[in-house]
């Protein structure tokens, strides 16, 4: 295996600076190699460098800038064959398909997160930007598999991904767009229960976990520290006020709110319950994969609903261009083979 691999700046390379797109990690140097970095190098891939990112993976949910993410540009322009990133909110899936690339978000818990800076722990998942899915899955097979340094993984040591299934049943949510998939697949009309609250549930849980994960950045031990402060509380306040950007601050404030005594039950706990219902509702009984568009609105928050199910239920998903539009396919846990098979047909 060979090829240049760009790393999103949330993946650690020992002795290299890492920013996660934030001033708060100013001057911080990675103390370790991410497990996947070691695995890539052991497999003959070369690290091309780091790509810029939204601070702690959090995009603006109010407006989307025209410019593509660094990792997408790097691959679409051919400066690297692959880019690895943590696509929590779906921006990579969307932009890859819009820019002639593919994106693989594998099953949650199959790729080690040792050396990945945490954003939303229950949804953080390293994925691959690539030119075609067969090469992307070939790379993934080299980095996926259990790691004793990540306590929240499946037990399989290795995964191999092969397109094996011929007759794939595609579930197409009625209310969403039509891709003309009926030409190549048996399509099934499905209804996504709870679709209207996907984004709210996801946003509440993401804010809670992100707010907690960034508590460690307090100016005491590493990273940015505000230059002038009086006493410990002032040190915390100034460091964090100056160190975080607006999107992250908003998320952290929302996170503190939904976990606070008064709001835990109506927000966080309710969102957790609905998350479980969403998982249970995606049964993959009379369909093998779900097909979704990558865009239904100009509003990024509305589009979050499209990317929420894979993140909330830990499901594998891929995106790629199809008939001039971006398409996203989602399969059941550890059924990446169905996604690869479906892509082969579409190709």
């Amino acid at each position: 295996m060979s090829g240049l691999v760009a790393l999103e700046d949330c993946i650690m390379q020992k002795d290299m600076p890492i920013t996660v797109g934030s001033k708060i990690l100013d001057g911080f140097v990675s103390p370790v190699n991410a497990t996947i970095v070691n695995r890539l190098m052991d497999s003959g891939y070369e690290i091309a460098g780091k790509t810029a990112m939204d601070e702690f993976c959090v995009p603006s949910f109010f407006d989307e800038s025209g410019e593509a993410l660094d990792a997408i540009q790097v691959v679409s322009e051919g400066r690297a064959q692959y880019a690895l990133s943590n696509d929590v909110f779906g921006k990579y899936r969307k932009q890859a398909a819009e820019n002639g690339c593919c994106y693989i978000r594998p099953t949650y818990g199959t790729v080690s997160r040792f050396g990945l800076v945490q954003s939303v722990s229950s949804m953080d998942q390293i994925g691959v930007v690539c030119k075609n899915l067969s090469d992307g899955f070939a790379l993934l097979s080299k980095i996926a598999g259990r790691d004793s340094k990540d306590g929240a993984m499946f037990s399989e040591e290795n995964y191999s991904y092969a397109a094996s299934v011929k007759d794939i049943r595609v579930g197409v949510p009625k209310s969403l767009s039509d891709f003309g998939l009926a030409e190549n697949f048996r399509t099934v009309d499905i209804e996504l229960e709870y679709f209207d609250v996907y984004r709210q549930v996801m946003y509440i849980l993401c804010c809670a976990e992100l707010g907690n994960n960034i508590s460690r950045y307090d100016g005491i031990k590493f990273g940015y520290r505000a230059p002038d402060f009086r006493g410990i509380n002032d040190l915390y306040t100034k460091t964090r006020s100056e160190g975080f950007g607006a999107n992250v601050k908003l998320a952290a404030i929302m996170g503190a709110m939904v976990l606070s005594q008064d709001w835990y039950t109506p927000y966080y706990e309710k969102a957790m319950k609905i998350r479980r219902l969403i998982k249970e509702s995606l049964r993959f009984d009379d369909y093998d994969v779900i097909a979704m568009p990558c865009q239904i609105s100009e509003n990024p928050y509305e589009n979050l609903s499209l990317f929420a199910p894979a993140a909330l239920a830990g499901l594998p998903s891929v995106s790629f261009p199809h008939n001039g539009k971006g398409i996203q396919l989602i399969a059941n846990v550890k059924r990446e083979d169905l996604l690869l098979s479906a892509w082969e047909v579409c190709k």
Binding site: V20, R113, Q118, K149, G151, N212, I220, K221, Y236, Y264
Partner: protein, 476 residues
């Protein structure tokens, strides 16, 4: 008395693991500042927690010896607060599904036996330590203790007297140390206790306003703090001198009073939530049986063995099982010298007094059991006498000498040569002619003086029994 005191205890016990709860750093006490740290326990990003299975098993052992109901699927949660000794801004603990609930511990006081019921036991990680350095005008933080595994044992408000509290803590110490859960040393902080205390009129079923007392590091301090605090609360109720508020109070052992630790910011909201980085842990029957079968002999069983099988007195046995360390020394020595009575005597009479001279408690005694047993063996086979043996024990204690080798090198072997002893006795009788006369005149006390003189000439190495017999014969 018109009032009664109602107390509940929160006891933190450090688990006796080699490594920390979520990383592989050493959990040993007493290292240099920030020696036992890694990116994970320093709160650096990118290092997810990996749960220490041994810690869970020790906590399971704690659950078993406290008769608790074990949770089939336990989870870890996060508790959020900012403090410099907490590097990740949150503590990993258990709120929603702790390892066990509803246990009980039987205590014995002057009022008899009673059960103290436990609300729950949960596993959590310790925080680091702040050191305030006045010379440089700053606070320093040591992360060695960060993420060291603890269990917090939460009792119901079952206690009415300080005696009950002390008996309970003693009982917990014995149960947990014998189960290998922890060494339970209050001075080193591996066992800590917070007391929730309120007073109410006797007969009332309502609970009064409670305070939580912290910072007591001995049983004595706990008893004094309870006495002070209940007195303060009763006084407040009777005289109205101050309004009681629910608060945390710090015990000052030097002044002998509790002081309010009132924080400006009001009631803390810890924003607990399930830890998304740690999968729920299933505790099945097979795992529980495995832990149960591997539990070391409990103190009570040991007591039965010592008294019934080995024929030791209740008094001696109680001293031995009063400390896991002493019990281990007893069993370790017995393995090499199979005379329980003798081993117990050596421990209680000699070893404990040597340790006391060095200001060491039962739990801090360290002795090589093989060497300790060897000394007893040397006495038993009449190689040395008891006085020499005591000196040897002191040398083993201080310098770790090898008793057998030392006896040989310093020719401390007992003088068994009857001819030599008799010759020495004759010399002494001549030298001490006046004492001999007085003895014969009826001053029998002088017999021991004469024995001493003989022993002195023989450099303390003779068998005192032989001298006694021979001297008596010569004085007839």
């Amino acid at each position: 008395m018109k009032y009664e005191t109602v107390m509940g205890l929160e006891v933190h016990v450090e688990l006796a693991t080699e490594t920390k709860l979520f990383c592989s750093c050493s959990a040993k006490f007493g290292a240099d500042a920030n020696e036992n740290v890694c990116p994970a326990c320093c709160g650096m990003p990118g290092t997810p927690p990996v749960t220490n299975k041994k810690a869970v098993e020790l906590a399971l052992a704690a659950a078993l010896v406290t008769n608790s109901k074990i949770t089939p699927v336990m989870t870890f949660d996060k508790k959020n607060y900012f403090y410099p000794d907490l590097p990740s801004g949150c503590q990993i603990t258990q709120l929603f599904a702790p390892i066990c609930r509803d246990g009980w511990v039987e205590i014995e006081t002057s009022e008899g036996r009673r059960k103290i019921t436990l609300a729950q036991i949960h596993i959590e990680e310790d925080a680091g330590k702040l050191v305030h350095d006045n010379r440089i005008g700053a606070s320093l933080v040591d992360f060695n203790r960060t993420s060291v595994p603890l269990v917090e044992i939460v009792s119901n408000p079952d206690f009415r007297t300080a005696e009950e509290v002390v008996a309970y803590l003693e009982k917990l110490r014995v149960l947990l140390s014998f189960a290998g859960v922890s060494d339970c040393k209050m001075q080193e902080g591996s066992m800590r206790c917070d007391v929730n205390i309120s007073v109410r009129e006797k007969g009332s079923s309502e609970l009064g306003t409670r305070t939580e007392i912290k910072n007591m590091n001995s049983l004595k301090a706990i008893a004094s703090a309870i006495a002070f605090e209940s007195g303060r609360q009763i006084n407040a109720l009777e005289t109205g001198s101050e309004a009681l508020v629910q608060e945390t109070r710090r015990w000052d052992d030097n002044i002998g009073e509790t002081f309010s630790m009132r924080e400006k910011e009001g009631v803390a909201d810890y924003r607990y939530f399930p830890n998304p980085e740690i999968m729920p842990i299933e505790i099945d029957d097979a795992w529980i049986s495995y832990v149960r079968e591997n539990l070391p002999e409990p103190a009570h069983d040991k007591f039965i063995r010592l008294t019934e099988k080995l024929g030791l007195s209740d008094y001696d046995s109680n001293i031995i099982i009063g400390s896991k360390n002493l019990a281990d020394i007893f069993d370790g020595t017995l393995k090499h010298f199979d005379n329980p009575k003798e081993v117990v005597n050596w421990i209680i009479v000699e070893l404990l007094s040597i340790a006391k001279g060095d200001n060491k408690g039962e739990d801090d005694i360290k002795i090589d059991c093989r060497k300790f047993a060897k000394i007893m063996e040397l006495v038993d086979n009449k190689t040395i006498n008891r006085a020499v043996a005591k000196k040897l024990l002191l040398l083993v204690w201080k310098d770790g000498i090898d008793p057998e080798q030392y006896v040989e090198e310093n020719q401390l072997g007992m003088v068994n040569d009857t001819g030599l002893i008799e010759k020495t006795i004759k010399d002494v009788l001549v030298e001490q002619a006046s004492s001999v006369e007085q003895y014969k005149a009826g001053n029998t006390k002088l017999f021991n003086f004469l024995v001493g003189q003989v022993m002195k000439k023989l450099a303390g190495k003779a068998d005192p029994k032989a001298i006694n017999e021979l001297l008596a014969k010569h004085l007839e």
